[in-house]
């Protein structure tokens, strides 16, 4: 039953699919971004959504990763993405079982000849938003809210703090982890306590937990429109998330965007052209336009600050400044 389809698929087109983690393709974060990249790739190459074109499967729990990957293998997709740092075990396993298939993993590293690993230099992007925060703070107290305390998020934290300190050594950054990426209530409570203690800018790297940070900031702003409090978004441009109802203002100061879409699109294109970087780690940083600050930053951040940010960006790209990726390096 599968044989004829295989020939048909292989002969005519290149097909690509991805497995999301539990977030789904609209998590306003890397799953959504990845899907946007895949859609762009599909549309540009005239592919249809579904088998033989481009598609995705959403996981209900971590038990589903392997099953979903396997399912895509069985549907003969030429390149299969695993999105998220929870996926490497499943990818490793399936990649071993199916050495003839090509896989790619986002946000993690799998050392297999048929797996390409996509990594981002989140610390570089975080550094830039750290610069914004360091220059914009009025109270010299800045907050960082992490999802889970894992090495990946530590990259955000370290880069951010380094950015703040680079421009404003007097500013204090308070760090708190919510312990989960889907606990808005925790995010809100942390934000509430941070703002109450005089912190005026919070950078969150906490997925849906960050929704709570936005919600608190918006409510405070509604209560007192003159209050100077800000949120820094993550992964995507979160300007919309920060909109204060009844006004045209947003509490989103800036966002550290992680262009998973760029990376996914890029890797798919490479693979289609026969340049699959199997076994390699492909890094996307400021230089590759893989991370950066959101264009909407100009709405709330004055020109001179943006200029400063740009200077730092150049320094990083040039290699003049090396951004730390761990707390140890930060010190």
């Amino acid at each position: 039953k599968e044989e004829p389809k295989k020939e048909e698929g292989k002969a005519s087109e290149f097909s690509v699919a991805m497995v999301t983690d539990v977030g789904g393709i609209d998590d306003k974060s890397f799953n959504q971004s990845a899907w946007e990249g895949l859609q762009k790739f599909g549309e540009e190459n005239g592919l249809k959504k579904g088998k033989g074109g481009y598609d995705y499967l959403q996981s209900q729990s971590d038990a589903d990763y392997a099953t979903n990957l396997n399912k895509l293998v069985r549907n003969d997709f030429d390149l299969i993405f695993g999105i998220g740092f929870l996926m490497p075990d499943a990818i490793t396993e399936i990649a071993e079982q199916k050495p003839d298939n090509k896989f790619a993993i986002v946000d993690s590293v799998v050392k297999k000849p048929n797996v390409a690993s996509i990594a981002f230099k989140e610390h570089e992007g975080s550094f830039l938003v750290g610069v914004v925060a360091g220059l914009m703070t009025k109270t010299n107290k800045i907050g960082f809210v992490g999802g889970m305390e894992i090495p990946l998020i530590e990259k955000f934290e370290s880069g951010f703090i380094a950015g703040v300190k680079a421009v404003n050594p007097n500013a204090k950054v308070e760090v708190q982890y919510a312990g989960a990426f889907d606990k808005a209530d925790k995010g809100k409570a942390i934000a509430s306590s941070m703002y109450a203690s005089g912190i005026d800018i919070i950078y969150h790297a906490a997925g849906a937990t960050g929704n709570g940070v936005f919600s608190e900031a918006i409510d405070l702003k509604k209560q007192d429109p003159n209050k100077e409090i800000w949120v820094i978004g993550v992964d995507r441009d979160q300007y919309e998330e920060g909109k204060v109802p009844g006004t045209d203002k947003s509490v989103t100061l800036t966002s550290m965007v992680k262009r998973v879409d760029v990376a996914v699109y890029d890797l798919a294109t490479k693979t289609k052209n026969g340049n699959f970087p199997g076994g390699q780690v492909v890094e996307y940083g400021l230089k590759e336009d893989g991370v950066g600050i959101a264009p909407t930053t100009k709405n709330n951040v004055p020109e001179d600050v943006l200029k400063k940010v740009d200077e730092w960006k150049q320094k990083i790209i040039n290699g003049e400044v090396k951004v730390p990726t761990t707390r140890a390096e930060l010190k």
């Binding site: 708190q176 209530d185 809100k188 409570a189 306590s193 929704n211 919600s215 209560q223």
Partner: protein, 317 residues
């Protein structure tokens, strides 16, 4: 220290409010003799309805939207609770099991609908929420004012007022007397011409209504969208608060506030010097561990309504 209280107490209150509403619902249901493990699911329905209504009608109703969403969530959840009522009261199902089914069903159904309507795993963020307020006059009281009456949400204060209303209803009105009689000794109530089935239906639907409110204000104030993780355990916390509070409305409110306090402490705790070195895990499990300790008799014995969990069959001895 005072400053820390100003941080902890307001967030304790807004954490507690959904629990208070839901726990008060639990008081109604269980006082009438119907166990309601389904509070969690009813909160899910409330959260789902509240968010969907808010997203759909925010343009029409403007600032009124969250309030209307709350009312609609209340109505929908109380209709949904009818399933539990029918199973537990009319069909004599095991009440715990029926509650578990409610929890499964509400989550499955609401996520199914979210996927169908929005084509994705969670809704968008609601744009119109409740406003934060400082209560006029009261918030000006020195010391207490900033701690208790500032930076709060209206529904939170409503929850506390409601606890007193429920207390009045249950202990001072004929309805309350009958409700308690039905939960203690349904056959006695029956012989006194009280319609046991009707009373229990009303009680379960009230629990649905209040859990619906609890869920909707949770979603509107705290999570702002609806997904599989929006309500994850709050209903069980409310249940615990109700038991902790000995099936008494004011007790349930007190317990909910206490849980809110523990939760807010577990979050804010990291900023408090002497708690800084305590691993977060201790603060995370604090509410649960305390509930267990409380149940073991720390706060005296709690006597559940006698007929709790037993379906009433006319003429059965």
């Amino acid at each position: 220290m005072l400053h820390i209280l100003e941080i902890i107490i307001p967030s304790a209150i807004f954490f507690a409010a959904p629990l208070i509403f839901t726990a008060l619902g639990g008081v109604f249901s269980e006082r009438s003799g119907v166990v309601n493990i389904g509070l969690e699911g009813l909160m899910v329905i409330g959260a789902f309805t509240g968010v969907v209504f808010n997203l759909t009608f925010a343009d029409q109703f403007g600032q009124l939207t969250p309030w209307l969403a709350m009312v609609v969530a209340m109505v929908v959840a109380s209709i949904f609770s009818l399933m539990h009522a029918v199973a537990a009261i009319s069909l004599r199902a095991d009440q715990v099991v029926s509650g578990v089914a409610i929890n499964f069903l509400s989550l499955g159904l609401s996520l199914f609908l979210v996927k169908m309507w929005y084509g994705k795993g969670q809704t968008d963020q609601v744009q119109v929420g409740f406003d934060k307020i400082d209560i006029p006059i009261l918030s000006k009281i020195p010391v207490i004012g900033p701690i208790f009456f500032s930076n709060g949400y209206v529904p939170s204060y409503l929850a506390i007022v409601l606890a007193f209303v429920v207390w009045y209803v249950i202990y001072k009105t004929p309805f309350g007397l009958r409700l308690r009689a039905v939960g203690e000794h349904p056959m006695a109530a029956d012989t006194m011409g009280i319609n046991v089935t009707k009373m229990r239906y009303i009680a379960v639907m009230l629990s649905g209504a209040l859990a619906g409110i609890g869920g909707s204000i949770y979603a509107t104030i705290i999570s702002r969208d609806f997904s599989h993780a929006t309500i994850s355990g709050q209903g069980f916390m409310a249940l615990a608060a109700m038991i902790f509070g000995k099936w008494h409305p004011l007790g349930a409110m007190g317990a909910a506030l206490f849980f809110g306090f523990a939760q807010s402490l577990s979050i804010v705790g990291q900023a408090i010097p002497f708690l800084k070195n305590v691993p977060t895990v201790y603060l995370l499990i604090l509410p649960y561990a305390l509930t267990i300790l409380a149940l073991t008799g720390f706060i005296g014995r709690a006597d559940a309504p006698k007929a709790l969990g037993t379906p009433y069959e006319k003429g059965k001895r």
